[in-house]
Amino acid sequence: MPIEPNPPAPASEREREAVDRALARVGAEPRRSDLLPLLHAVQDDLGWLPRGALHHLADRMNLPFPDVWGVATFYALFRLDPPRGTILHVCDDVSCRLRGADVLVRDLQARYGPPRRFAGGAHGDARNGRGAAAPPAVDWETVPCLGRCEEAPVAVAGGRELGHATAGVIAAALGQAGGDA
Protein backbone atom coordinates (compact mmCIF):
# COMPACT_ATOMS: atom_id res chain seq x y z
CA MET A 1 0.00 0.00 0.00
CA PRO A 2 1.41 3.41 -0.90
CA ILE A 3 2.48 5.43 2.11
CA GLU A 4 1.12 8.93 2.52
CA PRO A 5 4.08 11.24 2.02
CA ASN A 6 4.78 14.15 4.30
CA PRO A 7 4.10 17.01 3.78
CA PRO A 8 0.89 16.54 1.76
CA ALA A 9 0.69 18.04 -1.68
CA PRO A 10 -1.76 20.91 -2.09
CA ALA A 11 -4.54 20.44 -4.61
CA SER A 12 -4.03 22.05 -7.99
CA GLU A 13 -6.76 24.23 -9.44
CA ARG A 14 -7.87 21.44 -11.73
CA GLU A 15 -7.98 18.89 -8.92
CA ARG A 16 -9.96 21.21 -6.70
CA GLU A 17 -12.48 21.80 -9.47
CA ALA A 18 -12.86 18.09 -10.17
CA VAL A 19 -13.65 17.44 -6.51
CA ASP A 20 -16.06 20.37 -6.32
CA ARG A 21 -17.86 19.21 -9.47
CA ALA A 22 -18.26 15.71 -8.07
CA LEU A 23 -19.56 17.10 -4.78
CA ALA A 24 -22.01 19.39 -6.56
CA ARG A 25 -23.59 16.35 -8.17
CA VAL A 26 -24.06 14.67 -4.79
CA GLY A 27 -25.92 17.73 -3.58
CA ALA A 28 -26.33 19.52 -0.25
CA GLU A 29 -24.54 17.68 2.54
CA PRO A 30 -22.22 14.91 1.40
CA ARG A 31 -22.35 11.90 3.70
CA ARG A 32 -19.65 9.38 4.34
CA SER A 33 -21.59 6.85 2.26
CA ASP A 34 -21.06 9.17 -0.74
CA LEU A 35 -17.32 8.59 -0.52
CA LEU A 36 -17.05 5.61 -2.88
CA PRO A 37 -19.13 7.22 -5.67
CA LEU A 38 -17.19 10.47 -5.16
CA LEU A 39 -13.85 8.72 -5.55
CA HIS A 40 -15.12 7.11 -8.76
CA ALA A 41 -16.29 10.48 -10.07
CA VAL A 42 -12.99 12.21 -9.33
CA GLN A 43 -10.99 9.42 -10.92
CA ASP A 44 -13.23 9.41 -13.99
CA ASP A 45 -12.53 13.11 -14.29
CA LEU A 46 -8.79 13.23 -13.60
CA GLY A 47 -7.73 9.72 -14.59
CA TRP A 48 -6.37 9.06 -11.12
CA LEU A 49 -6.67 10.22 -7.50
CA PRO A 50 -4.02 12.83 -6.79
CA ARG A 51 -3.18 13.28 -3.12
CA GLY A 52 -4.11 16.94 -3.24
CA ALA A 53 -7.57 16.06 -4.52
CA LEU A 54 -8.03 13.57 -1.68
CA HIS A 55 -7.01 16.22 0.86
CA HIS A 56 -9.50 18.65 -0.61
CA LEU A 57 -12.22 15.97 -0.62
CA ALA A 58 -11.51 15.12 3.03
CA ASP A 59 -11.74 18.80 3.98
CA ARG A 60 -14.99 19.33 2.14
CA MET A 61 -16.52 16.18 3.65
CA ASN A 62 -15.29 16.94 7.15
CA LEU A 63 -13.51 13.61 7.27
CA PRO A 64 -10.03 12.99 8.66
CA PHE A 65 -7.64 12.62 5.74
CA PRO A 66 -6.43 9.16 6.87
CA ASP A 67 -10.00 7.86 6.55
CA VAL A 68 -10.23 8.99 2.93
CA TRP A 69 -6.73 7.72 2.23
CA GLY A 70 -7.54 4.39 3.87
CA VAL A 71 -10.54 3.89 1.61
CA ALA A 72 -8.83 5.06 -1.58
CA THR A 73 -5.93 2.66 -1.01
CA PHE A 74 -8.19 -0.29 -0.23
CA TYR A 75 -9.48 -0.75 -3.77
CA ALA A 76 -7.51 -2.03 -6.74
CA LEU A 77 -9.35 0.16 -9.26
CA PHE A 78 -8.32 3.42 -7.62
CA ARG A 79 -5.04 4.78 -8.96
CA LEU A 80 -2.87 6.76 -6.61
CA ASP A 81 -0.22 7.74 -9.11
CA PRO A 82 -0.68 9.26 -12.55
CA PRO A 83 -1.23 6.84 -15.44
CA ARG A 84 1.81 6.51 -17.65
CA GLY A 85 -0.27 5.93 -20.73
CA THR A 86 -3.46 4.19 -21.77
CA ILE A 87 -4.65 1.88 -19.02
CA LEU A 88 -4.54 -1.79 -19.98
CA HIS A 89 -5.78 -4.57 -17.70
CA VAL A 90 -4.98 -8.14 -18.71
CA CYS A 91 -6.64 -11.02 -16.91
CA ASP A 92 -4.19 -13.74 -15.96
CA ASP A 93 -6.58 -15.69 -13.77
CA VAL A 94 -7.43 -19.37 -13.99
CA SER A 95 -9.77 -19.55 -16.98
CA CYS A 96 -7.73 -17.08 -19.01
CA ARG A 97 -4.46 -18.92 -18.24
CA LEU A 98 -6.01 -22.09 -19.58
CA ARG A 99 -6.76 -20.18 -22.78
CA GLY A 100 -3.35 -18.64 -23.30
CA ALA A 101 -3.11 -15.67 -20.92
CA ASP A 102 0.44 -16.65 -19.96
CA VAL A 103 1.55 -16.40 -23.58
CA LEU A 104 -0.35 -13.14 -24.01
CA VAL A 105 1.34 -11.65 -20.96
CA ARG A 106 4.75 -12.61 -22.34
CA ASP A 107 3.94 -11.02 -25.72
CA LEU A 108 2.74 -7.83 -24.05
CA GLN A 109 5.81 -7.66 -21.88
CA ALA A 110 7.98 -7.77 -24.99
CA ARG A 111 6.03 -4.86 -26.46
CA TYR A 112 5.27 -2.64 -23.50
CA GLY A 113 7.80 -3.57 -20.83
CA PRO A 114 7.02 -5.16 -17.46
CA PRO A 115 3.55 -4.70 -16.01
CA ARG A 116 2.91 -2.95 -12.73
CA ARG A 117 1.97 -6.17 -11.07
CA PHE A 118 3.39 -9.46 -12.16
CA ALA A 119 3.06 -13.16 -11.42
CA GLY A 120 4.22 -14.06 -7.92
CA GLY A 121 2.85 -10.89 -6.42
CA ALA A 122 5.99 -8.88 -7.11
CA HIS A 123 5.33 -5.32 -8.13
CA GLY A 124 7.07 -4.49 -11.36
CA ASP A 125 8.32 -0.94 -11.62
CA ALA A 126 6.86 0.37 -14.83
CA ARG A 127 9.38 3.20 -14.84
CA ASN A 128 12.02 0.66 -15.75
CA GLY A 129 10.00 -0.33 -18.78
CA ARG A 130 11.18 2.23 -21.27
CA GLY A 131 13.03 4.65 -19.08
CA ALA A 132 11.64 7.52 -17.06
CA ALA A 133 12.38 10.09 -19.77
CA ALA A 134 10.13 8.47 -22.38
CA PRO A 135 7.21 6.93 -20.51
CA PRO A 136 5.56 4.05 -22.34
CA ALA A 137 2.27 4.93 -23.94
CA VAL A 138 0.71 1.98 -22.16
CA ASP A 139 0.28 1.56 -18.42
CA TRP A 140 -0.59 -2.07 -17.96
CA GLU A 141 -1.07 -4.65 -15.27
CA THR A 142 -2.28 -8.19 -14.85
CA VAL A 143 -5.54 -8.51 -12.93
CA PRO A 144 -7.71 -11.25 -11.42
CA CYS A 145 -10.76 -12.67 -13.21
CA LEU A 146 -12.73 -9.99 -15.06
CA GLY A 147 -15.91 -12.06 -15.17
CA ARG A 148 -15.87 -12.71 -18.92
CA CYS A 149 -14.19 -16.12 -18.85
CA GLU A 150 -16.33 -17.45 -21.69
CA GLU A 151 -14.28 -15.18 -23.98
CA ALA A 152 -10.89 -15.95 -22.44
CA PRO A 153 -8.32 -14.56 -22.61
CA VAL A 154 -9.76 -11.18 -21.70
CA ALA A 155 -8.31 -7.67 -21.49
CA VAL A 156 -9.63 -4.14 -21.00
CA ALA A 157 -7.79 -1.52 -23.06
CA GLY A 158 -8.62 2.13 -22.52
CA GLY A 159 -12.00 1.11 -21.10
CA ARG A 160 -12.82 -1.25 -23.97
CA GLU A 161 -13.45 -4.87 -23.08
CA LEU A 162 -11.71 -7.30 -25.39
CA GLY A 163 -12.53 -10.99 -25.58
CA HIS A 164 -10.27 -13.56 -27.24
CA ALA A 165 -7.49 -11.06 -26.74
CA THR A 166 -4.17 -11.30 -28.53
CA ALA A 167 -1.31 -8.82 -28.53
CA GLY A 168 -2.52 -7.73 -31.98
CA VAL A 169 -6.13 -7.21 -30.90
CA ILE A 170 -4.89 -5.21 -27.93
CA ALA A 171 -2.47 -3.09 -29.99
CA ALA A 172 -5.29 -2.23 -32.39
CA ALA A 173 -7.60 -1.21 -29.54
CA LEU A 174 -4.83 0.85 -27.93
CA GLY A 175 -4.24 2.59 -31.25
CA GLN A 176 -7.87 3.66 -31.32
CA ALA A 177 -7.83 4.67 -27.66
CA GLY A 178 -4.96 7.07 -28.35
CA GLY A 179 -2.28 7.92 -25.83
CA ASP A 180 -4.73 9.21 -23.26
CA ALA A 181 -5.92 7.38 -20.17
Binding site: G121, G147, E150
Partner: protein, 425 residues
Protein backbone atom coordinates in the same frame (compact mmCIF):
# COMPACT_ATOMS: atom_id res chain seq x y z
CA UNK B 1 -30.48 -33.77 -18.97
CA UNK B 2 -31.40 -30.97 -21.33
CA UNK B 3 -30.54 -27.33 -21.06
CA UNK B 4 -33.50 -25.23 -19.94
CA UNK B 5 -34.19 -21.52 -20.23
CA UNK B 6 -36.02 -20.12 -17.25
CA UNK B 7 -33.60 -17.67 -15.67
CA UNK B 8 -32.25 -17.12 -19.17
CA UNK B 9 -35.65 -17.02 -20.89
CA UNK B 10 -35.21 -13.41 -21.99
CA UNK B 11 -31.42 -13.25 -22.26
CA UNK B 12 -30.43 -12.54 -25.82
CA UNK B 13 -34.11 -12.45 -26.84
CA UNK B 14 -35.53 -9.24 -25.37
CA UNK B 15 -33.98 -5.79 -25.78
CA UNK B 16 -32.46 -5.32 -22.31
CA UNK B 17 -32.95 -1.57 -22.50
CA UNK B 18 -36.68 -1.69 -23.13
CA UNK B 19 -39.32 -2.03 -20.42
CA UNK B 20 -41.89 -2.79 -23.12
CA UNK B 21 -39.84 -5.71 -24.39
CA UNK B 22 -39.52 -7.00 -20.84
CA UNK B 23 -43.25 -6.76 -20.27
CA UNK B 24 -44.12 -8.40 -23.56
CA UNK B 25 -42.19 -11.45 -22.39
CA UNK B 26 -43.93 -11.80 -19.05
CA UNK B 27 -42.04 -9.14 -17.12
CA UNK B 28 -43.81 -7.49 -14.17
CA UNK B 29 -46.55 -10.12 -14.08
CA UNK B 30 -44.97 -11.36 -10.84
CA UNK B 31 -45.04 -7.93 -9.22
CA UNK B 32 -48.73 -7.61 -10.10
CA UNK B 33 -49.44 -10.93 -8.40
CA UNK B 34 -47.45 -9.90 -5.32
CA UNK B 35 -49.43 -6.65 -5.11
CA UNK B 36 -52.60 -8.73 -5.23
CA UNK B 37 -51.69 -11.57 -2.85
CA UNK B 38 -49.58 -9.75 -0.29
CA UNK B 39 -46.37 -10.42 1.67
CA UNK B 40 -47.56 -13.37 3.76
CA UNK B 41 -48.37 -15.34 0.62
CA UNK B 42 -44.96 -14.53 -0.93
CA UNK B 43 -43.14 -15.64 2.21
CA UNK B 44 -44.93 -18.96 2.41
CA UNK B 45 -44.43 -19.72 -1.30
CA UNK B 46 -40.77 -18.80 -1.08
CA UNK B 47 -40.26 -21.03 1.95
CA UNK B 48 -42.11 -23.90 0.31
CA UNK B 49 -40.08 -23.48 -2.89
CA UNK B 50 -36.89 -24.54 -1.10
CA UNK B 51 -34.95 -21.84 -2.97
CA UNK B 52 -31.39 -21.71 -1.64
CA UNK B 53 -29.08 -18.73 -2.01
CA UNK B 54 -26.92 -18.78 -5.14
CA UNK B 55 -24.16 -16.52 -3.78
CA UNK B 56 -22.17 -19.42 -2.33
CA UNK B 57 -23.52 -20.12 1.14
CA UNK B 58 -26.77 -21.85 0.05
CA UNK B 59 -28.86 -20.29 2.80
CA UNK B 60 -32.65 -20.78 2.47
CA UNK B 61 -34.03 -17.62 0.86
CA UNK B 62 -37.47 -17.91 2.44
CA UNK B 63 -36.07 -18.06 5.95
CA UNK B 64 -33.92 -15.01 5.33
CA UNK B 65 -36.83 -13.01 3.90
CA UNK B 66 -39.02 -13.89 6.86
CA UNK B 67 -36.35 -12.88 9.35
CA UNK B 68 -36.11 -9.43 7.77
CA UNK B 69 -39.87 -9.10 7.38
CA UNK B 70 -40.28 -9.79 11.09
CA UNK B 71 -37.43 -7.51 12.20
CA UNK B 72 -38.26 -4.23 13.87
CA UNK B 73 -37.49 -0.80 12.46
CA UNK B 74 -36.36 0.42 9.08
CA UNK B 75 -35.36 -2.41 6.73
CA UNK B 76 -33.23 -2.54 3.62
CA UNK B 77 -32.83 -4.71 0.55
CA UNK B 78 -29.38 -5.26 -0.97
CA UNK B 79 -28.65 -7.10 -4.17
CA UNK B 80 -25.13 -8.52 -4.11
CA UNK B 81 -23.77 -8.06 -7.64
CA UNK B 82 -20.10 -7.95 -6.73
CA UNK B 83 -19.42 -11.22 -8.58
CA UNK B 84 -15.65 -11.62 -8.41
CA UNK B 85 -15.18 -15.34 -7.89
CA UNK B 86 -12.68 -16.45 -10.55
CA UNK B 87 -14.47 -18.33 -13.30
CA UNK B 88 -17.86 -16.76 -12.56
CA UNK B 89 -19.86 -14.55 -14.93
CA UNK B 90 -23.52 -15.52 -14.46
CA UNK B 91 -24.61 -12.38 -12.62
CA UNK B 92 -23.00 -10.20 -15.27
CA UNK B 93 -25.00 -11.95 -17.99
CA UNK B 94 -28.25 -11.64 -15.99
CA UNK B 95 -27.70 -7.92 -15.36
CA UNK B 96 -26.57 -7.14 -18.90
CA UNK B 97 -29.24 -9.21 -20.63
CA UNK B 98 -32.20 -9.02 -18.24
CA UNK B 99 -31.73 -6.02 -15.94
CA UNK B 100 -35.46 -5.48 -15.42
CA UNK B 101 -35.72 -8.93 -13.85
CA UNK B 102 -33.24 -7.85 -11.16
CA UNK B 103 -35.20 -4.64 -10.60
CA UNK B 104 -38.56 -6.44 -10.46
CA UNK B 105 -37.24 -9.09 -8.07
CA UNK B 106 -35.80 -6.45 -5.75
CA UNK B 107 -39.11 -4.60 -5.82
CA UNK B 108 -40.90 -7.79 -4.82
CA UNK B 109 -38.42 -8.13 -1.98
CA UNK B 110 -39.06 -4.54 -0.91
CA UNK B 111 -42.84 -5.02 -0.80
CA UNK B 112 -42.50 -8.34 0.99
CA UNK B 113 -40.13 -7.33 3.79
CA UNK B 114 -41.56 -3.78 3.96
CA UNK B 115 -38.36 -2.00 2.99
CA UNK B 116 -38.22 1.30 1.13
CA UNK B 117 -34.52 1.36 0.40
CA UNK B 118 -32.98 -0.96 -2.16
CA UNK B 119 -29.37 -0.99 -3.28
CA UNK B 120 -27.44 -2.96 -5.89
CA UNK B 121 -23.72 -3.25 -5.30
CA UNK B 122 -22.22 -3.88 -8.72
CA UNK B 123 -18.67 -4.98 -9.25
CA UNK B 124 -16.62 -1.96 -10.39
CA UNK B 125 -15.49 -3.60 -13.62
CA UNK B 126 -19.08 -4.28 -14.73
CA UNK B 127 -19.74 -0.92 -16.37
CA UNK B 128 -22.31 -2.17 -18.88
CA UNK B 129 -24.24 -4.04 -16.20
CA UNK B 130 -24.35 -0.93 -13.99
CA UNK B 131 -25.47 1.25 -16.90
CA UNK B 132 -28.22 -1.17 -17.92
CA UNK B 133 -29.47 -1.41 -14.33
CA UNK B 134 -29.58 2.37 -14.05
CA UNK B 135 -31.58 2.59 -17.27
CA UNK B 136 -33.98 -0.08 -16.08
CA UNK B 137 -34.45 1.68 -12.74
CA UNK B 138 -35.13 4.94 -14.57
CA UNK B 139 -37.76 3.42 -16.82
CA UNK B 140 -39.41 1.53 -13.97
CA UNK B 141 -39.66 4.76 -11.97
CA UNK B 142 -41.24 6.59 -14.87
CA UNK B 143 -43.74 3.75 -15.33
CA UNK B 144 -44.74 3.87 -11.66
CA UNK B 145 -43.24 0.46 -10.96
CA UNK B 146 -40.67 1.91 -8.60
CA UNK B 147 -40.66 5.02 -6.44
CA UNK B 148 -43.14 6.64 -4.10
CA UNK B 149 -46.09 4.44 -5.05
CA UNK B 150 -45.08 1.05 -6.45
CA UNK B 151 -47.64 -0.27 -8.90
CA UNK B 152 -50.53 1.40 -7.11
CA UNK B 153 -49.84 -0.35 -3.80
CA UNK B 154 -49.30 2.91 -1.97
CA UNK B 155 -45.92 1.53 -0.87
CA UNK B 156 -42.59 3.16 -1.68
CA UNK B 157 -39.46 1.44 -2.90
CA UNK B 158 -36.35 2.97 -4.38
CA UNK B 159 -33.22 1.36 -5.82
CA UNK B 160 -29.77 2.90 -5.88
CA UNK B 161 -26.79 1.51 -7.81
CA UNK B 162 -23.39 1.59 -6.12
CA UNK B 163 -20.27 0.54 -8.00
CA UNK B 164 -17.51 -1.38 -6.24
CA UNK B 165 -13.91 -0.57 -6.97
CA UNK B 166 -12.00 -3.81 -7.31
CA UNK B 167 -11.95 -5.91 -4.15
CA UNK B 168 -13.07 -9.54 -4.05
CA UNK B 169 -13.71 -9.31 -0.33
CA UNK B 170 -16.48 -6.74 -0.84
CA UNK B 171 -18.70 -9.59 -2.06
CA UNK B 172 -18.78 -10.81 1.53
CA UNK B 173 -22.01 -9.29 2.77
CA UNK B 174 -20.70 -7.39 5.80
CA UNK B 175 -17.64 -6.13 3.90
CA UNK B 176 -20.12 -4.91 1.29
CA UNK B 177 -21.96 -2.91 3.96
CA UNK B 178 -18.74 -1.27 5.10
CA UNK B 179 -17.85 -0.47 1.51
CA UNK B 180 -21.22 1.20 0.89
CA UNK B 181 -20.90 3.13 4.13
CA UNK B 182 -17.66 4.68 2.87
CA UNK B 183 -15.29 2.55 4.94
CA UNK B 184 -12.62 0.05 4.02
CA UNK B 185 -14.30 -3.11 2.74
CA UNK B 186 -13.39 -5.30 5.70
CA UNK B 187 -15.82 -7.94 6.99
CA UNK B 188 -17.53 -7.45 10.34
CA UNK B 189 -17.84 -10.03 13.06
CA UNK B 190 -21.07 -12.03 13.01
CA UNK B 191 -23.36 -11.92 14.95
CA UNK B 192 -25.09 -9.62 14.56
CA UNK B 193 -26.28 -11.05 11.26
CA UNK B 194 -27.40 -8.78 8.44
CA UNK B 195 -31.03 -9.70 9.05
CA UNK B 196 -30.61 -8.11 12.51
CA UNK B 197 -28.14 -5.30 11.89
CA UNK B 198 -26.85 -4.87 8.37
CA UNK B 199 -26.41 -1.83 6.17
CA UNK B 200 -26.31 1.34 8.32
CA UNK B 201 -27.18 -0.92 11.25
CA UNK B 202 -30.65 -1.68 9.89
CA UNK B 203 -32.11 -5.16 9.34
CA UNK B 204 -31.02 -6.00 5.80
CA UNK B 205 -32.02 -8.60 3.25
CA UNK B 206 -28.95 -9.47 1.16
CA UNK B 207 -29.35 -11.76 -1.80
CA UNK B 208 -27.28 -12.67 -4.80
CA UNK B 209 -28.44 -11.58 -8.28
CA UNK B 210 -29.27 -15.13 -9.37
CA UNK B 211 -31.16 -15.87 -6.13
CA UNK B 212 -33.33 -12.81 -6.71
CA UNK B 213 -33.97 -13.66 -10.36
CA UNK B 214 -35.53 -16.94 -9.20
CA UNK B 215 -38.14 -15.12 -7.12
CA UNK B 216 -40.45 -13.96 -9.96
CA UNK B 217 -40.47 -17.57 -11.20
CA UNK B 218 -41.52 -18.80 -7.76
CA UNK B 219 -44.22 -16.13 -7.63
CA UNK B 220 -45.62 -16.94 -11.07
CA UNK B 221 -45.45 -20.72 -10.89
CA UNK B 222 -45.89 -21.22 -7.17
CA UNK B 223 -43.63 -23.37 -5.04
CA UNK B 224 -44.77 -26.60 -6.70
CA UNK B 225 -44.17 -25.21 -10.19
CA UNK B 226 -40.70 -24.14 -9.15
CA UNK B 227 -39.98 -27.58 -7.72
CA UNK B 228 -40.69 -29.28 -11.05
CA UNK B 229 -37.00 -28.71 -11.70
CA UNK B 230 -34.17 -29.92 -9.55
CA UNK B 231 -34.05 -32.34 -6.65
CA UNK B 232 -35.88 -32.38 -3.37
CA UNK B 233 -33.13 -30.50 -1.55
CA UNK B 234 -31.68 -28.52 -4.45
CA UNK B 235 -34.74 -27.07 -6.07
CA UNK B 236 -35.02 -25.28 -9.39
CA UNK B 237 -32.41 -24.64 -12.02
CA UNK B 238 -28.83 -23.41 -11.71
CA UNK B 239 -26.61 -21.28 -13.89
CA UNK B 240 -23.20 -22.83 -14.46
CA UNK B 241 -20.32 -20.83 -15.90
CA UNK B 242 -18.32 -23.32 -17.95
CA UNK B 243 -14.87 -22.16 -19.01
CA UNK B 244 -11.37 -23.38 -19.73
CA UNK B 245 -10.70 -26.37 -21.95
CA UNK B 246 -14.15 -27.05 -23.41
CA UNK B 247 -15.34 -26.65 -26.98
CA UNK B 248 -18.06 -24.11 -26.14
CA UNK B 249 -17.36 -22.09 -23.00
CA UNK B 250 -20.42 -20.23 -21.80
CA UNK B 251 -23.31 -19.92 -19.41
CA UNK B 252 -25.55 -22.98 -19.12
CA UNK B 253 -28.82 -23.28 -17.23
CA UNK B 254 -29.69 -26.81 -16.14
CA UNK B 255 -31.89 -28.36 -13.48
CA UNK B 256 -30.08 -29.23 -10.27
CA UNK B 257 -29.21 -32.92 -10.44
CA UNK B 258 -27.68 -32.72 -13.90
CA UNK B 259 -24.38 -34.56 -13.72
CA UNK B 260 -21.02 -32.95 -14.22
CA UNK B 261 -20.53 -35.10 -17.32
CA UNK B 262 -23.83 -33.97 -18.81
CA UNK B 263 -22.93 -30.34 -18.20
CA UNK B 264 -19.56 -30.76 -19.90
CA UNK B 265 -21.28 -32.48 -22.82
CA UNK B 266 -23.55 -29.43 -23.22
CA UNK B 267 -20.42 -27.32 -23.50
CA UNK B 268 -19.17 -29.56 -26.29
CA UNK B 269 -16.94 -31.69 -24.08
CA UNK B 270 -13.23 -31.35 -23.50
CA UNK B 271 -11.79 -29.49 -26.45
CA UNK B 272 -9.63 -30.91 -29.22
CA UNK B 273 -10.69 -34.45 -28.39
CA UNK B 274 -8.48 -34.46 -25.33
CA UNK B 275 -9.03 -36.24 -22.04
CA UNK B 276 -10.21 -34.57 -18.88
CA UNK B 277 -7.65 -33.96 -16.15
CA UNK B 278 -9.75 -32.12 -13.56
CA UNK B 279 -12.56 -29.64 -13.02
CA UNK B 280 -12.24 -26.71 -10.65
CA UNK B 281 -15.80 -26.53 -9.36
CA UNK B 282 -16.84 -23.36 -7.50
CA UNK B 283 -13.96 -21.12 -8.56
CA UNK B 284 -10.99 -20.23 -6.40
CA UNK B 285 -13.10 -20.90 -3.31
CA UNK B 286 -14.07 -24.28 -4.77
CA UNK B 287 -12.40 -27.66 -5.17
CA UNK B 288 -10.78 -29.76 -7.87
CA UNK B 289 -12.69 -32.85 -8.94
CA UNK B 290 -11.09 -35.64 -10.96
CA UNK B 291 -12.46 -37.41 -14.07
CA UNK B 292 -13.91 -40.10 -11.79
CA UNK B 293 -16.52 -37.55 -10.69
CA UNK B 294 -18.29 -37.12 -14.03
CA UNK B 295 -21.33 -39.02 -12.79
CA UNK B 296 -21.71 -36.76 -9.80
CA UNK B 297 -25.06 -34.96 -9.74
CA UNK B 298 -24.57 -31.22 -9.43
CA UNK B 299 -26.57 -30.54 -6.27
CA UNK B 300 -25.72 -29.09 -2.88
CA UNK B 301 -26.25 -32.50 -1.28
CA UNK B 302 -24.42 -34.42 -4.02
CA UNK B 303 -21.22 -32.38 -3.96
CA UNK B 304 -20.84 -32.04 -0.22
CA UNK B 305 -19.85 -35.66 0.53
CA UNK B 306 -16.91 -35.46 -1.90
CA UNK B 307 -15.77 -32.15 -0.43
CA UNK B 308 -17.10 -30.29 -3.44
CA UNK B 309 -19.31 -27.24 -3.65
CA UNK B 310 -21.71 -25.69 -6.12
CA UNK B 311 -20.35 -22.36 -4.93
CA UNK B 312 -20.79 -19.61 -7.45
CA UNK B 313 -21.46 -22.03 -10.30
CA UNK B 314 -17.98 -21.75 -11.80
CA UNK B 315 -16.93 -24.92 -13.63
CA UNK B 316 -13.40 -24.60 -14.94
CA UNK B 317 -12.17 -27.46 -17.08
CA UNK B 318 -8.54 -28.58 -17.30
CA UNK B 319 -7.59 -30.99 -20.07
CA UNK B 320 -4.85 -33.60 -19.75
CA UNK B 321 -2.14 -31.20 -20.93
CA UNK B 322 -2.91 -28.38 -18.49
CA UNK B 323 -0.46 -27.62 -15.74
CA UNK B 324 -2.46 -28.31 -12.61
CA UNK B 325 0.14 -26.70 -10.34
CA UNK B 326 0.33 -23.55 -12.40
CA UNK B 327 -3.40 -23.18 -11.84
CA UNK B 328 -3.11 -24.00 -8.14
CA UNK B 329 -0.38 -21.38 -7.86
CA UNK B 330 -2.65 -18.76 -9.42
CA UNK B 331 -5.38 -19.64 -6.93
CA UNK B 332 -2.94 -19.36 -4.02
CA UNK B 333 -1.78 -15.97 -5.29
CA UNK B 334 -5.39 -14.85 -5.63
CA UNK B 335 -6.09 -15.48 -1.96
CA UNK B 336 -2.85 -13.91 -0.81
CA UNK B 337 -3.67 -10.76 -2.79
CA UNK B 338 -7.35 -10.58 -1.86
CA UNK B 339 -7.09 -11.31 1.87
CA UNK B 340 -8.07 -8.08 3.62
CA UNK B 341 -5.46 -8.79 6.26
CA UNK B 342 -7.77 -8.10 9.16
CA UNK B 343 -7.30 -11.44 10.92
CA UNK B 344 -4.04 -13.27 11.46
CA UNK B 345 -4.83 -16.85 10.35
CA UNK B 346 -5.91 -15.63 6.93
CA UNK B 347 -3.31 -12.90 6.48
CA UNK B 348 -0.39 -15.13 7.43
CA UNK B 349 -1.93 -18.36 6.20
CA UNK B 350 -2.56 -17.17 2.64
CA UNK B 351 1.04 -15.86 2.50
CA UNK B 352 2.57 -19.14 3.77
CA UNK B 353 0.32 -21.14 1.49
CA UNK B 354 1.51 -19.12 -1.49
CA UNK B 355 5.15 -19.70 -0.57
CA UNK B 356 4.68 -23.46 -0.27
CA UNK B 357 2.62 -23.76 -3.44
CA UNK B 358 5.31 -21.74 -5.24
CA UNK B 359 7.82 -24.41 -4.17
CA UNK B 360 5.52 -27.21 -5.28
CA UNK B 361 4.80 -25.59 -8.63
CA UNK B 362 8.48 -25.16 -9.38
CA UNK B 363 9.38 -28.73 -8.45
CA UNK B 364 11.22 -27.72 -5.28
CA UNK B 365 8.77 -29.29 -2.85
CA UNK B 366 10.08 -30.35 0.54
CA UNK B 367 8.87 -33.59 2.09
CA UNK B 368 7.01 -31.77 4.85
CA UNK B 369 5.15 -29.41 2.48
CA UNK B 370 1.92 -31.41 2.06
CA UNK B 371 1.54 -31.68 5.83
CA UNK B 372 2.33 -27.99 6.25
CA UNK B 373 -0.38 -27.11 3.72
CA UNK B 374 -2.87 -29.28 5.57
CA UNK B 375 -2.01 -27.62 8.90
CA UNK B 376 -2.24 -24.11 7.48
CA UNK B 377 -5.50 -25.00 5.78
CA UNK B 378 -6.98 -26.31 9.02
CA UNK B 379 -5.93 -23.16 10.88
CA UNK B 380 -7.43 -20.87 8.23
CA UNK B 381 -10.64 -22.87 7.99
CA UNK B 382 -11.16 -22.93 11.76
CA UNK B 383 -9.95 -19.52 12.86
CA UNK B 384 -10.66 -17.04 10.06
CA UNK B 385 -13.51 -14.65 10.65
CA UNK B 386 -14.93 -14.74 7.13
CA UNK B 387 -15.49 -17.10 4.25
CA UNK B 388 -12.43 -15.94 2.34
CA UNK B 389 -10.02 -17.38 4.88
CA UNK B 390 -12.29 -20.34 5.52
CA UNK B 391 -12.19 -21.43 1.87
CA UNK B 392 -8.68 -20.29 0.93
CA UNK B 393 -7.14 -23.74 1.29
CA UNK B 394 -9.90 -25.78 -0.34
CA UNK B 395 -8.65 -25.77 -3.91
CA UNK B 396 -5.03 -26.29 -2.89
CA UNK B 397 -5.77 -29.26 -0.63
CA UNK B 398 -8.11 -30.84 -3.18
CA UNK B 399 -5.35 -30.58 -5.80
CA UNK B 400 -2.98 -32.33 -3.41
CA UNK B 401 -5.56 -35.07 -2.90
CA UNK B 402 -5.84 -35.46 -6.66
CA UNK B 403 -2.06 -35.52 -7.16
CA UNK B 404 -0.47 -36.79 -3.97
CA UNK B 405 3.26 -36.30 -3.71
CA UNK B 406 5.38 -33.55 -5.13
CA UNK B 407 4.42 -32.48 -8.61
CA UNK B 408 6.73 -33.29 -11.46
CA UNK B 409 6.54 -32.43 -15.12
CA UNK B 410 4.64 -35.65 -15.79
CA UNK B 411 1.81 -34.78 -13.46
CA UNK B 412 1.54 -31.12 -14.17
CA UNK B 413 4.60 -29.48 -12.65
CA UNK B 414 6.16 -26.21 -13.60
CA UNK B 415 7.70 -27.40 -16.83
CA UNK B 416 4.27 -27.35 -18.39
CA UNK B 417 3.51 -23.94 -17.01
CA UNK B 418 4.69 -21.98 -20.00
CA UNK B 419 3.24 -24.02 -22.80
CA UNK B 420 0.51 -22.67 -25.02
CA UNK B 421 -2.81 -24.06 -23.87
CA UNK B 422 -3.20 -27.46 -25.32
CA UNK B 423 0.48 -27.84 -26.12
CA UNK B 424 1.85 -31.12 -24.85
CA UNK B 425 4.99 -30.32 -22.94
Amino acid sequence: MPEVRRLLARAGVADPESLEAYRSLGGYAALARVAERGPAWVLSELEASGLLGRGGAAFPAGRKWRAVAEAAGRRRVVCNADESEPGTFKDRVLMEQDPFAVVEAMTIAGLTVAAEDGLVYVRGEYRLAAARLRRAIDQAERAGLLGADVAGTGRAFWIRVVRGAGAYICGEETALFNSVEGRRGEPRNKPPFPTQAGLFGDPTLVNNVETLCNVPIVVLEGASGFRRYGTDRSTGTKLFCVSGHVERPGLYEVPFGTTLGELLALAGGVWRGRRLQAVLCGGAAGTFLGPDRLDLPLTFEGLQPVGGTVGSGAVIVLDETASLWDIVLRVARFFQEESCGQCVPCRVGTQRQLEIVTRLASGRARPEDPQLLADIGAAMTDASICGLGQTAAGAVLSALALRPGAPSSSNGGASAAHGRPGEVV
